[in-house]
């Protein structure tokens, strides 16, 4: 045997051994079987053919990748979703076929960091809008090849349903949070949603019932709607109705509402029902009533006051001899009246205390300091009528004391205090001390008339004046019905 023949035999032996080694170590996945025009290719891919068939009939997108992430097989569902031509991508790296974000997401599920999920959600832009996929990877062995199967489960419907659900939840939250009563009706006028305020407008659960049955409404004739049924039908018909005052006679507490209704626009050209909102008008109505009452009251008081001013004017004229005297007394009396008015105005014409009235009339003497005026137990609250009368009485007593009584000398004092009287009566005593000796007057002036008569508008009211030598004493009985509290 020649050296060349030996070399050829060695080469063929090496080749045979290399072939066996390659088969044994799984480096080949197909064999040529047969000879003499009957060669056949026998693949040793294992179950890959049936695997491919299985992948193809699955609804989900799937791709088989080898260890280098080259495409071994991509099923038609995924090829469609990714806009790939299945036959043109085999053998190419999958990461080169898709956009960078998707490639990164797939790398992450193929090599998950410890503790991170082995699936990822990805969004693919498509001609008919975005599609959402759950991408998962599992190790795969195809014959002699190790790789991964990557599946793309289309979650678009689920994601869209979730978004719709969240939107529905948000809408419900908006309705529930509204202070106004909000009711949503379907196309038949049946209530489908109602918030807590709406449930306060009816005695029955409104959802599932016709709006007009659970919340009947009465409108003013000028509104153009005969009732709730008419209103709901108008809104479902596309009319937007705003701010109608309505009475809800069946509502448990609040009956006055400002009602608005609008079509429920579910898409650009489709109405799915209507939304009715009802604003509680009870406070506004109460305020309107209060305002009317106040106007009437004001009118009444102005008339009374004018009558009183006329009376003071005419009496002062009779009791004063000179124009100067008239002007001085009249002005002082009107000022006294104004002071009491001022007190009442400060308290919104509610009750005022006797102490405040006394302090208002005796203010100049209180400001002088010392103990010229002292008061005791005068936190008795009286109605405006009694307050005005008391204001005039204390004014006349003060004027008298300043002219002739204890306030006409430096050492004189006035003590005003509440007296313990019979149960039910409210007595206040004005006592002057330390002034000049007092004798009963010879002539009864207007001042005395005022003191005597002002509180006699009711049997329980009146005054008694005693001209004791040590000083004037006046006991004032405040009309029982005008005493609000005696703290």
């Amino acid at each position: 045997m020649s050296a060349a023949e030996i070399a050829e035999l060695r080469r063929r032996l090496f080749e045979a051994e290399e072939t066996l080694r390659a088969i044994r170590e799984g480096e080949v996945d197909a064999l040529v079987v047969g000879a003499d025009d009957r060669e056949q290719i026998f693949t040793i891919e294992g179950e890959s053919e049936s695997y491919r068939a299985f992948m193809e009939v699955m609804g989900i997108g799937a791709v088989a990748l080898d260890h280098a992430r080259r495409v071994l097989y991509v099923n038609s569902a995924l090829a469609r979703a990714l806009d790939l031509k299945a036959s043109a991508v085999q053998g190419r790296r999958f990461g080169d076929l898709v956009d960078a974000d998707l490639a990164a997401a797939i790398d992450a599920v193929l090599d998950p960091a410890p503790g991170s999920p082995d699936a990822a959600e990805v969004r693919l832009r498509g001609p008919e809008g975005d599609r959402h996929f759950l991408v998962a990877a599992r190790p795969l062995r195809l014959g002699t090849v190790r790789g991964h199967a990557v599946t793309f489960t289309d979650m678009t419907d689920r994601v869209e349903a979730e978004i719709a659900l969240q939107s529905e939840r948000a809408a419900r939250a908006v309705i529930a949070s509204a202070n106004e009563a909000v009711l949503v009706c379907d196309l038949n006028g049946i209530v489908s949603h109602a918030n807590a305020a709406a449930r306060g407008a009816t005695r029955v659960e409104p959802v599932g019932h016709a709006f007009a049955e659970v919340i009947p409404l009465e409108f003013r004739r000028s509104a153009g709607f005969t009732g709730a049924e008419d209103l709901v039908a108008g809104a479902i018909g596309g009319a937007s109705i705003q701010g109608l005052e309505a009475l809800a006679p069946a509502a448990p507490i609040v009956k006055d509402y400002l009602v608005s209704a609008a079509p429920l626009q579910v898409s650009d050209d489709e109405i799915g029902g209507c939304v009715v909102t009802m604003v509680d008008l009870s406070q506004r109505k109460a305020a309107e009533k209060q305002q009317t009452l106040l106007m009437q009251e004001l009118d009444h008081r102005v008339r009374n006051t004018l009558a009183l001013v006329l009376s003071i004017s005419s009496r002062t004229m009779h009791s004063e001899d000179t124009l100067e005297g008239f002007q001085k007394s009249f002005t002082a009396r009107i000022q006294a009246l104004a002071a009491t008015h001022g007190l009442l105005a400060e308290r919104s014409w509610a009750d005022v205390s006797v102490g405040d009235i006394v302090r208002s009339e005796l203010a100049p003497y209180l400001q002088q300091g010392g103990d010229r005026v002292s008061t005791e137990g005068l936190s008795i609250h009286v109605a405006p009528r009694a307050a005005i009368a008391l204001g005039l009485v204390f004014h006349e007593l003060t004027t008298n004391a300043v002219k002739y009584g204890s306030l006409s000398t430096l050492g004189g004092r006035v003590l005003v205090r509440r007296l313990e009287g019979e149960p039910g009566s409210t007595l206040v005593e004005w006592r002057e001390v330390g002034g000049p000796a007092v004798a009963p007057p010879t002539r009864r002036g207007f001042g005395q008339t005022v003191i005597a008569r002002s509180l006699q508008y009711t049997p329980s009211g009146g005054t008694e004046v005693e001209f004791e030598p040590s000083g004037v004493v006046c006991r004032i009985s405040i009309p029982t019905e005008d005493v609000r509290s005696a703290a």
Partner: protein, 96 residues
């Protein structure tokens, strides 16, 4: 007459359709050629699934197999060519 040293030499890669090793061998060979010996080899891929008889010419048994016809003696590299060093040694490019 010696072969023109600048003319690309032919490498024949035998594959069997789209089997994973076949796909892998094609990709690996393209990468090795472009990275280590650009322009020196031209590659012919023969799909034995389409024409099994072509296996006869180079007595191919296992697939994939790469055949270097020239220079003689003929060399065969069996497998998916994932070991680039082994491929380069067998193509003996160092000495050429």
């Amino acid at each position: 007459m010696p072969p023109n040293p600048t003319a690309p030499r032919k490498l024949v890669l035998y594959v069997a359709g789209q089997t994973p090793k076949s796909l892998s061998a094609i990709a690996n060979l393209e990468r090795i050629c472009s990275e280590h010996m650009p322009g020196r080899y031209e590659i012919e891929v023969i799909d034995l699934k389409e024409n099994p008889r072509l296996a006869r010419e180079h007595s191919i048994v296992a697939i994939p197999t790469l055949v270097r016809e020239l220079p003689v003696p003929i060399r065969k590299i069996i497998g998916d060519l994932s070991d680039a060093d082994k491929v380069l040694v067998n193509l003996r490019i160092e000495g050429e």
